[in-house]
């Protein structure tokens, strides 16, 4: 099979076969990134534009590296976030970029649905690099890749996703994909951070972290947006850390070989204790390394002639 789509907008819209194809393709690129010369000519002459309406050094760098290792030309374009406020449509910006003959546009935007709207309006392929609270599909895919790399199979896999589920695009992408692949997905956090009807996506809701950890094989921590303190989501960082911070003692409640994931950047001592982040069970740096291989795979698969 092959990827018969122009864009990668969400994991909700991908089939299981498509997810597996992307992961399998990433294997080849993982091999490439292990070479001394980490570059292949597959996207020679292609132009990839990183269009970031929201600052994100990590995701942008990962895409940039992925595109460069495929020999594509990469342009980073970061319109000031004020242009969003100014009322310039994403489409206007993108059409300008398309006029420069970009083959693939990687879009990060603060509002949900921006990638979908863009994809409808341009001929270039669009990769959603995070849209509001909606989805962050490449992060989800690199998380899946990292789980699979650890030899875990998705069917029946017990995964806890912990933190501010309501405002997390990473959580949504992972819930969609993991549920589709047959995993037992638990979402954990205070009720103020639990979006309405999240159980309808196929996840089970837990408010008690210790209870949720029982028997899980994957602990996926989300980054806490510290600025949400006080605006009714949680009273203090101190209390949040006590109730929902991942400590070494808590890790013991999970399955013995459980792995600890985090999309970064981490708040050490808040959602995750430093000794856990640096422990053997932590795959946080593997996630970063795999991010490049997975994104190379996605860029490759979407780079078919238009």
């Amino acid at each position: 099979m092959s990827l018969k789509r122009k864009d990668l907008l969400s994991l909700a819209s991908l089939s299981v076969d498509e997810i597996r194809l992307i992961l399998q393709t990433a294997d080849s690129f993982k091999e490439v990134t292990g070479r001394e010369i980490k570059k292949v000519p597959a996207l020679r002459g292609r132009t990839v534009v990183n269009l970031f309406f929201e600052p994100s050094t990590r995701t942008r760098t990962s895409f940039e590296l992925a595109a460069k290792r495929l020999s594509a030309d990469v342009i980073n374009f970061s319109p000031s976030s004020s242009s969003v406020v100014k009322g310039e449509t994403v489409l206007d910006t993108a059409r300008n970029i398309e006029a420069m003959q970009a083959d693939i546009i990687v879009l990060r935007h603060p509002s949900a649905g921006a990638a979908e709207a863009l994809a409808r309006g341009v001929k270039s392929s669009v990769i959603n690099a995070g849209d509001g609270w909606h989805e962050h599909p490449t992060q989800g895919l690199l998380d899946l890749y990292t789980i699979r790399e650890r030899g875990l199979s998705f069917e029946g896999l017990r995964v806890a996703i912990v933190g501010d589920i309501a405002h997390s695009r990473v959580a949504r992408s992972n819930i969609h994909a993991l549920v589709k692949l047959g995993a037992d997905v638990r979402v954990v956090g205070p009720p103020t951070m639990m979006p309405c009807g999240v159980d309808k996506l196929g996840a089970r809701v837990y408010y008690n972290f210790d209870e949720a950890l029982c028997g899980v094989q994957v602990i996926m921590m989300l980054r806490l947006q510290l600025e949400r303190q006080g605006i009714a989501l949680f009273p203090t960082i101190r209390e949040y850390a006590r109730l929902y911070g991942l400590t070494a003692e808590r890790v013991k409640l999970a399955d013995s070989g459980a792995i600890v994931m985090h999309p970064g950047p981490i708040n050490r001592g808040v959602e995750i204790a430093p000794e856990v982040a640096d422990s053997l069970s932590s795959v946080i740096l593997d996630q970063v390394a795999n991010g490049v291989a997975v994104r190379m795979g996605i860029l490759y698969l979407l780079s078919g002639a238009n």
């Binding site: 969003v84 509002s111 949900a112 649905g113 709207a117 609270w133 309501a166 309405c196 009807g197 996506l201």
Partner: protein, 428 residues
């Protein structure tokens, strides 16, 4: 010049429901009945097989003038109104500047006279600049021609201010209209809060944000004895509370919009900004409750909340795009769909579009009684057509109903005894 509307099915809710001729002269209905003696030279409108109805009255439109004429002017809004069979419209005060003083009200009435299409009744602001702090000069507004007061779009959050407004409005017998939304609960929201907002990652506005304010407003209406009119109610909870308030004899009336009884939040999928309005599209259960409220009389009036926005504004992302859709040119067929569905009788549908709204705001309209203003809509109930926003008279095209195959077409609209709209051959 006299107009003779011949052989139509006349529905004047509560008064007449049957085939009759209608004779209009000098701006008034002068005779009604079978086989009228028609003066020589009268214009004849053949209404055989059509409905002859008192012109519709929309208690809730946004005509954007002054301030946002690129979205809609009083002229273009009135043209859209008469094309939809509306002969009178009540304009919300959220213009720029806000209609919180006599000068703006007079300006709006003046523009309406120049347009010479629909009757325009301005609604004055409750508070200065609709800022929710100090009362506007309600007496002046009344004298200048405002028929009600509202801070629509910017609900009055301070309950004490709302209490004072209700009390003060009693002196002028003006209905107080509130857009019920707790701004704190709904903050940042852009669609109904629920499983779909979760899936789409869009900030939600819970139904409770509306219900809380309906409850408050009902309590204040009871406290003050004011005439409270609840704009565009959209939730099951609102319907329940209004029903209860009415059963206790409070002077509470309510309106519902066609989109709130025709479509649900499902339409938002795909980040369709034409499905973004406030209050937002709700769930199937809410739609059922609104229909039941219309059926049992809890909801008195169907109003459009006609809210034009330019295409480029609706092309923004879903979270940035403005709230609102146009409604004047689609309200009739969407209301008639309720008749087909058996929710409303034809007569009660006409009542909710015409007679009831006149009563709620105390307008001497909404009837075809002899001596009444000759505001008439002639309608072909069976005519099917496809909604094509490019043909709208409104300056804006923001509707979620584009491409819908609907039934019920306005063929002629008469305002004050003058034909102001006739459907072209192509449309019939």
């Amino acid at each position: 010049m006299a107009i003779h509307i011949a052989g139509g099915h006349v529905i004047d809710p509560g008064r007449l429901n049957g085939v009759a001729d209608v004779l209009i002269d000098e701006g008034r209905v002068v005779a009604i009945g079978p086989h009228l003696k028609v003066p020589a030279g009268a214009t004849k409108i053949d209404a055989m097989g059509r409905l002859v109805l008192p012109g519709f009255i929309d208690l809730h439109v946004h005509f954007r003038e002054p301030g946002f004429e690129y979205k809609e002017s009083i002229q273009s809004g009135a043209a859209a109104a008469v094309a939809g069979g509306f002969t009178s419209v009540c304009c919300m005060p959220n213009t720029n500047p806000v209609n919180d003083n006599q000068a703006i009200t007079e300006f709006m009435l003046d523009r309406a006279r120049v347009a010479g299409l629909a009757n325009v009744f301005p609604i004055g602001a409750i508070t200065k600049g609709s800022e929710g702090k100090e009362l506007a000069e309600l007496g002046d507004l009344r004298r200048a021609g405002c028929v009600a007061i509202s801070d629509d779009g910017k609900p009055v959050m301070n309950s004490l201010v709302m209490r004072r407004a209700m009390e003060y409005a009693l002196a002028f017998d003006m209905p107080v209209v509130d857009h019920c939304e707790d701004l704190h609960l709904a903050e940042g929201g852009c669609m109904n809060e629920g499983a779909i907002s979760t899936e789409l990652g869009l900030p939600g506005m819970p139904a409770a944000a509306e219900d809380v304010m309906v409850a408050r407003n009902v309590a204040l209406a009871e406290l003050t004895g004011a005439r409270l009119h609840l704009a565009h109610i959209s939730t099951e909870g609102s319907v329940r509370m209004v029903r209860e308030a009415k059963s206790r004899g409070l002077k509470v009336t309510a309106e519902a919009c066609p989109h709130h009884f025709s479509i649900t939040e499902e339409v938002v999928r795909g980040y369709n900004t034409y499905a973004k309005m406030n209050p937002p599209l709700r769930t199937w259960k809410d739609v059922q409750a609104i229909k039941e409220g219309l059926r049992d009389g809890t909801i008195d009036v169907i109003a459009t909340d006609h809210a034009p926005h330019a295409t480029q504004e609706k092309q923004l992302g879903f979270t940035e795009a403005p709230f609102g859709i146009v409604g004047l040119e689609t309200a009739l067929p969407l209301t008639f769909a309720l008749v087909e569905e058996g929710v409303l009788s034809l007569e009660s549908a006409v009542d909710k579009l015409s007679t009831a709204p006149a009563k709620v705001f105390g307008l001497a309209k909404g009837t075809l009684a002899i001596g009444a203003d000759a505001d008439v809509a002639v309608v072909d109930q069976q005519e099917q057509w496809e909604v094509d926003p490019t043909k709208f008279r409104s300056k804006s095209r923001n509707t979620p109903f584009a491409g819908w195959k609907v039934k019920g077409l306005v063929t002629t609209t008469i305002v004050g005894g003058r034909v102001v709209f006739e459907a072209s051959q192509a449309e019939q």
